[in-house]
Amino acid sequence: MLASILTIILVVGGTALLSWPLGKYMAALFSGRFAAADRLFTAATGGAGEQDWKTYSLALIAFNVVMFGFVFLLLATQHLLPFNPDGQGVASLDLVFNTAASFTTNTNLQHYSGESTWSYLAQLGGLMWLQFVSAATGIAALAALARGIGGQASMGNFFLDVQRAAFMLLLPVAMLLACAIALAGVPMTLEGAAAVTTLEGATQTIARGPAAAFVAIKQLGTNGGGFFGPNSTHPFENPTFWSNALEIIAIILIPMACVWMFGRIIGRVKHAAVIFGVMAALLVIKLTAAVTFEAAPTQAFADLAVPQDVGNLEGKELRLGATTGPLWAVLTTATSNGSVGAMHDSLNPLTGLVPMAGMWLNETFGGVGVGMINMFLYIALAVFVAGMMVGRTPEYLGHRIEGREMRLVVLALIAHPLLILGGTALFAATPWGLDTLNNTGAHGFSEILYEFSSAAANNGSGFEGLGDNTPAWNIATGLAMLIGRYLPIIVPLAIAGSLMAKRRSAESAGTLSVEGPTFGVMLFIVILIFGALTFFPAAALGPIAEHVTLMR
């Protein structure tokens, strides 16, 4: 227990401290403080000029169409292209669609194992490229939203913002991280697999490749798609406790810094502190629950000659320490990262519920940029509910929140449970889902529920026993990822556009302050009621049912 607490203080507490200066830097970056770099970026792409919410959104969509189209072509033709030392063959078109959608939307749901599916060119030139630019897209969207509701005249320029995020933020940090984990043992080579002869005379073929570069940005940009099938449980993606600590820090660093960046751009750091506090409180609750539940031993060994004093080791790596499984599970789903440090399918039933809850809420820091955007929707809802309760016109930062804005907020918030519960219901009732399960009963239901939660939340982790490389899964989750990505980005920009068009009123003594603990508590309750309660019946059918029937 002491080791767990020390580990959590080291990686979560340490990262929270680091996020403060980084958020300050990001706010300066997106406020044009680096004019020389900005001039260079503007010259590189053209298309300069200030954008409103419509033109910013159109530019975002245009670039994301290019992202999807290019990677779709690259993946579909990888067998004809160079940098393919292990001779990877043709992938099915539905898998290509799913993978291109998955990495374009910053989800990184993987219905394949990298080492046996994609060439090095497909991994680096297609997937790793998307890991940079999809993360940059999310951060750019947050900068635009913050400018809009912070009272600036324009939302900025999308093409400039993406380059700021990619070149001035993601690239330098990823470079440092890649070099550090390469020293720890993550391979970085263009050579194909290594063939060895074991001491007993058998032959073993060991996949390797340019993994260090890939793993760094997958952790940093809340991407989460691994170079190898089992992600960061693979010793080549995560060779030591210290590479593990760095990779965990990278999961939450930028999502945390995004809150401070938002607060600085809107000029309300105290408001950001309240938001950060609410997110941190949710995180601590989830961490405590997951670490506690996972300390229960493997139920399947209960009546055997196996000591039951070391927690559940199924699906876990010894070198990463006992805390890594639950800690990583919580952080990777609090943010929309989706990389794993232990196999989620083999977590104890109630531990497995915690990452699902993380994806249902999807704003405990959340994805880079988009986590704070999701939180903005809950803030608008909390302000509205509070306003109704005391009978005053709801106002947020001097903006009146009215019917039009609330309709948009509800549209964006309701899409999330609709995608998850609708998809789960469909696949739990048909062979599309039932024929692909690796576990029976309630745990099988959890596999379907997890997959749709992961797709809609743009998370990308999975209960990986699910045989999900089928046309039905590839198409359904591909669509869920696309809707789950662009709706919650475009709608908030539209809300900000609507607010910008109205005259701001001065805040008075009667206005609900968004900088105090009252607002924090209100926000926390709204998140729990609207975010978590929606999913309670589904949770009862899956992990909770499994726990009460099978755990002793």
């Binding site: 053209g46 089992p230 000659a305």
Partner: protein
């Protein structure tokens, strides 16, 4: 159209810098500063490669220490876990086979890591308890005094990260290499 051309130019610059430039720099750094790790930590014991320090391989002879079970049979080209619920009877059945193989009894229970498969199926380590548990078998098969085998294990056991992960673990391939060196 007004957005397509800037998007294509953005594709070009980000691809050139974030894929080509970034990969080249990381590759140059790793290959020059840490070539052993960069190429997969492949161990070449006096000649041909015998394995990777980081990747578990199958050992079934009683003369060697055995690794944790692997859901993918130690396939270096297709890693993965069992992805089975900890409440599943499949895990009970797998554990029973291993208990029979190790000859574990209620008086001599088997450490849990030796019956639980790892996440990637390639975990190169076993717990210190898991290594000591096998010491008598290895010593008997090699005709060595058990105390000497235990001394070797103790010399190889390390804690993963001091106070953050105090449990001591042993790298199976390195331990088996040390055993073979002992015999020479």
């Amino acid at each position: 159209m007004q957005y397509l051309l800037p998007s294509l130019r953005l594709w070009l610059v980000t691809f050139a810098i974030c894929v080509v430039g970034y990969t080249a720099l990381v590759l140059a750094f790793a290959q020059s500063v840490a070539p052993f790790q960069a190429n997969g930590s492949i161990i070449e014991a006096d000649g041909p490669a015998v394995g990777s320090k980081l990747i578990a391989q199958d050992f079934s002879s009683p003369r060697y220490f055995w690794p944790r079970p692997s859901a993918v049979d130690y396939d270096g080209m297709g890693a993965g876990g069992s992805n089975t619920s900890p409440t599943s009877p499949d895990l009970t059945d797998r554990a029973k086979e291993l208990i029979a193989r190790y000859g574990a009894t209620a008086d001599k229970p088997i450490p849990a890591d030796l019956v639980a498969a790892s996440g990637g199926g390639l975990d190169p380590h076993i717990s210190l308890e898991g290594a000591l548990y096998q010491a008598d078998r290895v010593a008997a098969a090699r005709g060595l005094p058990p105390a000497e085998v235990k001394r070797l294990i103790e010399a190889q056991a390390v804690s993963a990260a001091g106070p953050f992960a105090p449990e001591r673990i042993v790298n199976v391939l390195e331990l088996n290499l040390a055993l073979d060196r002992q015999a020479q």
